[in-house]
Amino acid sequence: MGTARVIFDRWDGRYAASMSEVRSSAVRDLFAAASRPDVISLSGGMPDVRRVPHDLVQRAVKQALEHDGATALQYGSSEGRLALRRIIVGLMSESGARATEDDVVVTAGAQQGLDLLAKVFLDPGDVIICEGPTYVGALQAFSAYRPRVECVEMDEHGMRMDALEETLKRIGPRGAKFIYTIPNFQNPAGVTLSADRRRRLIELAREYDIPVIEDDPYGRLRYEGGHILPLRALDPDVIYLGTFSKIFAPGLRLGWIAAPRPIRARVLLAKQAADLCGSAFAQAVAERYMTGTAWRRVLADLTRTYHTRRDAMLAALTEHFPADVTWTHPEGGFFVWVTLPAHLDTKPLLAEAVERGVTFVPGSDFYPAGRGSNNFRIAFCYEEPEQIAEGVRRIAEVLEDKLALYRAFVDAGAMPALAVSGGSST
């Protein structure tokens, strides 16, 4: 039986100060506690692993044990199994990114890659540059090393290069330890960095002598438009983060870093210090899955599924969302980023949304501090199309109420009307 009892942390006050800046979102925690089974979740970015056939995974596990049992159950090398690194090199080359097995370190998800890179590069107070908004998990991983985060604005073509240049001019050559970017179907904004801007980003990074970290979890999940070469394809000095979470399953916790040799050597040391080596078993299973099964067909099915769900979300947004609200049009990935008129705060709106049985993530979570209060992120990756449409409709009801207020101000001439009305934009 449930109880309302509270359990305290009696060790509070004894933890490291460096962890004090690493937070989960208070607002999200608040409503995680309140989540009911009837709530439609448009907040999480979970791949739909229900569509990964268990018999394929079973076969991979069986083969891994039969053929690689002796090594799969043993400690492995810190850089990861050679066979898997070869597969990774193959995956990268399919997307146009060059690397060799010796550039790659297998990590516990790309998330560990973020932590290791931060550990290798950052001292407290160092400047890093990222997109604003950016991935919460990256902000969390970086924050333990206490950097100063510079956010660069985006539009529908990704990070704005004029804004990046402005920031770089201000901080000067080598003024930041790295530039962190998610060029494809960015989390949370859903936008993709254009080919022109990718070239410009590399130019600027070279000019100011600042390393680039390219985080590419969603690159293979494209639903429209043509493939754009990754940054790593334009410059072998780019540090590339990849993951098996979206092409296989996040449960294996497998990702990788491909980096120039000297950086890779540092990362390897950090990896040894962190966990000696990754799970050899998970790596052996992934090897078998990626070589002995029809994984491409599974991925194609997943991509079609996400594509349908994205279309359902975009259609529902057009149908239900009020004028004066804008949203992005993701060509792939998991997320849509919504913008309300300035000064409407989405944190208290989440409370009302949860009451109506739907969740989203308030925009302020995706900034280090003080911005994004009139934004939120919704994900289309996990719920079925009907649920997505219903969830969007429920959010629209909450928004309608606040927007009626906004319009009353505009109609009375007390506020200027928004330049954009409806449709997609960042």
Binding site: M1, A4, V6, F31, A33, D345, K402, A408
Partner: protein
């Protein structure tokens, strides 16, 4: 063994984190005092847990919606469990700043000039077309715009010019259905805590808050080093007497019981204005009530003991 006291904390208000910090400290103090303390969150199981645990009293360490607005008080009345702090009506009156300010004004208690706007007035009645009247109604800028029902200064904005007013109203109305626009009084911000004693309300030494940012908002309240505190407040003796009298009058006027905290601002001529009354004052390390109590020689445990005793003393 002493009485069994359930400390209510957390909840689903935006002040959840603060309440958990208050509650944990209160819980620790009760244990130290020898009470059988249990800590409870506001969850769908709360009522069932209260019925099975049968505490002798409830210590309300909740802040904000449900904890301070009379909701949980009403529910405890029905369950027949005595609780700390003011009753249902006093909570409702204090929680609604528009209502309490009307009462202050009616009783001649000085409060900054203000106007109240409901969301519906804008949506259904075109009230936005009368925003130009606001400066004259409240006595000019700057003003403070805030939701009528929200704690910890959430949704609060200081506005310097007419252009900023609609935006600040939108922010405030994101947090609730009504907002007040109040004349900003430049001066010393103080919090005056009142404890009920055997001979009526006893006013504790006022605390003065000096926020580094100039605005005592959520950030300033709960971030160490963001605000400097002086207790007792650096005010002339006759001004101190005035604010103490005022605090007691507010406590009585709103029908408060056990404890309340009256927030005021004292202008440069030494004239105090009442801003609002809190019926569930914070009990964290940086909270104002424990600070005042300490200045009066009442340490944290004694403060908690006193409130707990008042509550279980009301058992039927």
């Amino acid at each position: 063994m002493k009485e069994k006291i359930a400390v209510l904390m957390g909840g689903r208000s935006l002040e959840r984190e603060v309440s958990l910090r208050s509650g944990e400290r209160v819980f620790g103090a009760l244990q130290e005092l020898g009470y059988r303390a249990i800590a409870l969150d506001v969850t769908p199981e709360l009522t069932e847990t209260l019925r099975s645990e049968k505490p002798d009293a409830v210590y309300i360490a909740l802040h904000g919606k449900f904890g301070e607005d009379g909701t949980v008080q009403e529910s405890l009345e029905f369950l027949g469990i005595p609780y700390t702090g003011p009753g249902v009506v006093a909570c409702e009156l204090s929680w609604d700043k528009a209502l309490s300010k009307r009462l202050f004004a009616g009783e001649g208690i000085p409060t900054p000039r203000w106007v109240t706007f409901t969301s519906d007035a804008f949506k259904e009645m075109g009230a936005a077309s009368a925003l130009d009247l606001v400066p004259a109604a409240v006595g000019g800028f700057p003003v403070v715009v805030k939701p009528t029902k929200q704690g910890s200064a959430l949704g609060l904005t200081k506005v310097e010019t007419a252009e900023g007013l609609p935006e600040a109203l939108l922010t405030a109305l994101s947090f609730g259905d009504a907002a007040i626009v109040e004349k900003w009084v430049e001066g010393t911000e103080i919090a005056v805590s009142v404890l009920d004693g055997p001979e009526g309300p006893e006013v504790l030494p006022p605390v003065e808050m000096v926020a580094k940012s100039g605005l005592f908002d959520f950030q300033a309240m709960y971030t160490a080093g963001e605000t400097e505190y002086y207790c007792p407040a650096r005010l002339a003796p006759e001004v101190l007497r005035d604010v103490e009298e005022l605090a007691a009058s507010c406590h009585i006027l709103l029908g408060c019981r056990d404890v309340s905290r009256v927030d005021m601002v004292v202008d440069s001529s030494g004239r105090p204005f009442v801003l609002e009354v809190n019926t569930s004052p914070g009990m964290t390390e940086t909270s104002l009530l424990p600070m005042s109590a300490a200045a009066a020689g009442i340490d944290f445990a004694r403060l908690v003991d006193r409130l707990a005793c008042s509550a279980h003393g009301r058992a039927r």
